[in-house]
Each structure stands twice: as structure tokens, then as C-alpha cells.
């Protein structure tokens, strides 16, 4: 039996949160999607969860006010190792700026940059499903 995946969506656009939450659930890949419209809130949630955090996949938007995707990654870097081990991060963005793409590729915490709109088959492939 396939283990059910646990997803976090971080995006300042309530539109995109709505769309991708529905899409993930409809695709059958998960039953559990948690949405955050601020990266800071998501970070707070991660730290308070601590050891209780299940294995989680984060789809992280890039351009957000207050704390953007890369700033979130900088903070994530300071989290305790066991917590980080439970999390896999994909950046999900409509950016076509090569500097962003290079930066995402260079980051050890970002598995890959997925272009918006999210394609489920593509995500499945990246997850090895």
C-alpha cells in the first residue's frame, strides 16, 4: 500500500492555495493538505510541531510579501536536523527569471523548481511515484 503523503502549500495567493489544494486532493496523491498564505506562519507551524511533524512535502511559492520563498529557505536552514529530515521542499513558481531558477537549483534544501501551473504527473515523477 502506498503511504499517504502529507502536503504543505505556502503561497500568498489565496487563489493558488485553493486551486492546488483541490488539485492535490483530486489527484488522489494525498488526503492531507495544509495551506499557509504566509511563509512566516508556515515556519512557525513547523517549529511548533517539532517531533510530532509527519513526513511532509512542501510546495513553496517564491514571490511573497514579508518573507519570500528564498528567505523561508534561509530560515529553514536553521531548523534542527531531525525536523528538516522529515521535509521535502519543492519550489512552485511562475518565475521565468534565470537568476531565480539558478538560485533554486543551487539550494541544497530545494529538490526542484516546479513551474506553475502545477502538473500532477510531473510532481509524481519527481516524487518517484
Amino acid at each position: 500500500m502506498e503511504p499517504l503523503l502529507n502536503f504543505f502549500l505556502i503561497d500568498d495567493s489565496s487563489f493558488d492555495l485553493f486551486i492546488y489544494e483541490k488539485l492535490l486532493i483530486k489527484s488522489g496523491i494525498t488526503h492531507s493538505v495544509k495551506t499557509f498564505n504566509s511563509a512566516r506562519d508556515a515556519l512557525k507551524h513547523l517549529t511548533t510541531q517539532g517531533d510530532g511533524l509527519p513526513e511532509t512535502i512542501i510546495l513553496l511559492d517564491l514571490q511573497m510579501p514579508d518573507m519570500n520563498g528564498f528567505e523561508f529557505i534561509d530560515e529553514f536552514d536553521h531548523l534542527p536536523e531531525p525536523l528538516r529530515q522529515k521535509v521535502r521542499i519543492f519550489m512552485l513558481s511562475s518565475t521565468i527569471d534565470t537568476r531565480d531558477i539558478e538560485k533554486a537549483k543551487a539550494s541544497p534544501h530545494i529538490i526542484d523548481l516546479l513551474p506553475k501551473p502545477l502538473e500532477i504527473p510531473f510532481l509524481k515523477k519527481k516524487l518517484g511515484l
Binding site: 500568498d12 495567493s13 486551486i19 492546488y20 504566509s38 510579501p65 511562475s94 521565468i96 501551473p117
Partner: protein
């Protein structure tokens, strides 16, 4: 001659040279004279000079030595050396060490000196203009950079949202949720359209030729109100106005419209829906010399740490679908083009007050 007088500093140890120079040219130029190189340095610190004339043979130091000394700290003024006898060694030093622009032979001839000053000023002016152009170009390039960067987000993001919704709708058989998706597409398209209109406004504002006309604030406000009050997001907001216009006020109506439109739209967008009586109050007090505009609301307010950043391009203070971060930037640009000022006072949960002062443009 240009509006601003050409400033000249003349250093010579022989007092009567100084005075005859000043007597000959004081009507044309703004002249400062001194017989001491020490005093001359102090003067350079206090005042901006376009041109420095110095006698070569002076006690303490020669004209060339003086130029060599001040050249690094005061590179802007054009240097002219006045010399009694032509000494080839001094001439070589003057060019190589003092980087002088001209030699003037003593006794000097009025026409010759006038010509030298005029040529020197041309160079001074060209260099200053070039510097100014460079600053403007740098700003334009930075804006373009930011624009390209943000375009990928602000132009593509709503489109990608639409595509995402379409993908989702294709998985759905239920007609009712299809309609829900269409509504989302509509909102997303409208957001994109607003952004494009803003960009066009910005370029009209930045590149367009200003058209100065007699302004009626009453008419302008009525016109702006008419375009916004049927917006679905207008809600329960109550808009009140208090317009007092005494005499004729001249300005660019296009820019004023941009200012009113954006500020009132923001008051609508950021109204505090939890309050029973959301309002925006617009006050205009205009005299023939200036206009004071105040837009006050009891909306969500702006964080103190964001208040100095909200006028920057693409800075968004709020999360959610608040906007693209270009509205207040356009307002700021329009106001500075009109020679005015804007300030904001705001408190989270209480509201914001934008205060604008704009001078009347005299034709």
C-alpha cells in the same frame, strides 16, 4: 547666458589684478576674489565654483601647485592659469600636474578672457549635464530591471492561476463547480487587467508631456467617484468629501486623476470589513498657489515598518490578493513630477491618513 550666473574664483597675490578683473566682469559673472591660496581653499569648501582662475607666480605656492593640490578634492571646477611670462617648464607642469584648461597671458585682454571663460563654462556644463543624464539613466535602468523581474510574477502569475483553474475544471464533471471555477477565472483576469492599466498609467505619467490646465477639484473628484462606486469591492464603504477651492489652480489633470484614483481605490481595497462604518474622507483645500489633499480612512492600516517602503515600486505590504505593489509608486512619481509631497500616518487596525501638498503650476 543661462539663468544661473557662472561662479568664478580668482586667486592672485596682486590686489589690483583682482580688483580690475572684478570691475571688468562683475556684471556678467558671480565673482569671488582672494589673494591667499589658504583662503581660496576655504572658499572652495563653502561654495560651488564653475571656474577657477589662478595666477602662476604667487608666494607660498604657484598656481600650478595650487591646482594640483585641490584637483582631487574639487574636480568639478574648470581650471585656468594666468601667467606673466611663458615658461615652458611651468606650461608642461600646468598641463600634466594641474590639468589646466587654458593659459591666459598677462596683461590679459578682455575679449580673450571672456572667450576662455565661456569655453570653460561649456565644458563644465557639459560634464554636469552628463552626470545628471547618467543618474537619470541609472534610475531608468534600475526601474527596467525591476520591471522585467516583476513582470514574470505580476503578468504571469494571474495567467498561470487561470491555467491551473482550467486544469482543475477539466477534472470536474459537476456543472456547479464549473461555474465556481469560471468565477475564479474572471477574478484572475480582472486582476491582470488592473495591473496592465496601472503599467500604462505609469508610462503615461513617466514619459508623457504634461498638460497643464485650470483644475476644478469638484469635477475631478465627482468623476473619480463615478468610476469607482459601482465596483463590487466597494461594499459598505461610505465616502465623504469636503472640497474648498478658492481661485484658479493649475496642474496636470491626468496626474491628479491617477493620484485620486489610486488613493481612493486603496481605501476601498483595504477597508476594514469588521468595522460597522467603514469610511474614506477626502479633503481638498486649494488656493491659487497650492492644494492640500487629505485622504483619511478607518481601514486596516499600515504597519509602521512598512510605511517608508509603500511608495517603492512593487513593494506589497499586505499578503493575500491585495495588489501588485505599483499603485502607490505611481502616486509618488506623479506627485514628485508635480513638485509636490506626500506623507502617510497610519496605525494598524485604526486607519491611514495620506496627506499631499501640490503647488499650482504657473503657466
Amino acid at each position: 547666458m543661462s539663468e544661473k550666473a557662472i561662479t568664478i574664483l580668482y586667486i592672485d597675490d596682486e590686489e589690483h589684478n583682482l580688483h580690475s578683473f572684478k570691475a571688468s566682469f562683475r556684471k556678467q559673472y558671480d565673482i569671488t576674489i582672494t589673494s591667499s591660496v589658504v583662503e581660496a581653499e576655504q572658499m572652495l569648501e563653502e561654495k560651488d565654483f564653475c571656474i577657477i582662475l589662478a595666477d602662476q607666480r604667487m608666494p607660498v605656492m604657484t598656481g600650478v601647485q595650487f591646482f594640483e593640490k585641490i584637483r582631487i578634492d574639487y574636480p568639478k571646477p574648470i581650471r585656468i592659469l594666468i601667467t606673466g611670462h611663458t615658461d615652458i617648464g611651468a606650461a608642461i607642469d600646468a598641463i600634466n600636474k594641474g590639468e589646466v584648461f587654458r593659459f591666459i597671458d598677462k596683461p590679459w585682454d578682455y575679449k580673450y578672457v571672456e572667450n576662455a571663460i565661456s569655453n570653460a563654462y561649456d565644458i563644465y556644463k557639459t560634464r554636469e549635464d552628463l552626470k545628471q543624464r547618467n543618474i537619470e539613466l541609472q534610475k531608468a535602468n534600475e526601474e527596467l530591471d525591476k520591471f522585467v523581474y516583476s513582470a514574470s510574477h505580476d503578468l504571469r502569475a494571474p495567467l498561470m492561476s487561470v491555467l491551473g483553474i482550467v486544469n482543475l475544471a477539466l477534472l470536474e464533471d459537476d456543472v456547479k463547480s464549473q461555474n465556481e471555477y469560471l468565477e475564479l477565472i474572471r477574478q484572475s483576469v480582472k486582476k491582470l487587467d488592473t495591473f496592465i492599466i496601472n503599467i500604462i498609467d505609469y508610462y503615461k505619467n513617466a514619459r508623457g508631456v504634461p498638460v497643464v490646465t485650470d483644475i476644478s477639484f469638484e469635477e475631478l473628484v465627482t468623476e473619480v467617484q463615478a468610476t469607482i462606486q459601482y465596483l463590487p469591492e466597494y461594499g459598505n464603504l461610505k465616502m465623504t468629501t469636503d472640497i474648498q477651492q478658492d481661485g484658479i489652480f493649475n496642474s496636470d489633470v491626468m496626474k491628479l486623476r491617477i493620484i485620486f484614483n489610486n488613493l481612493i481605490n486603496n481605501a476601498i481595497k483595504f477597508q476594514d470589513k469588521s468595522k460597522a462604518d467603514p469610511f474614506v474622507h477626502l479633503t481638498v483645500k486649494s488656493t491659487p498657489s497650492e492644494a492640500k489633499i487629505i485622504v483619511a480612512d478607518n481601514g486596516t492600516g499600515i504597519k509602521e515598518s512598512d510605511q517608508d517602503k509603500i511608495f517603492k515600486m512593487f513593494y506589497r505590504a499586505g499578503a493575500t490578493n491585495s495588489g501588485s505593489g505599483i499603485g502607490l509608486y505611481i502616486v509618488h512619481e506623479a506627485i514628485s513630477k508635480l513638485g509636490g509631497e506626500i506623507s502617510v500616518t497610519s496605525k494598524i487596525g485604526e486607519g491611514s491618513i495620506f496627506e499631499i501638498n501640490i503647488p499650482s503650476i504657473n503657466k
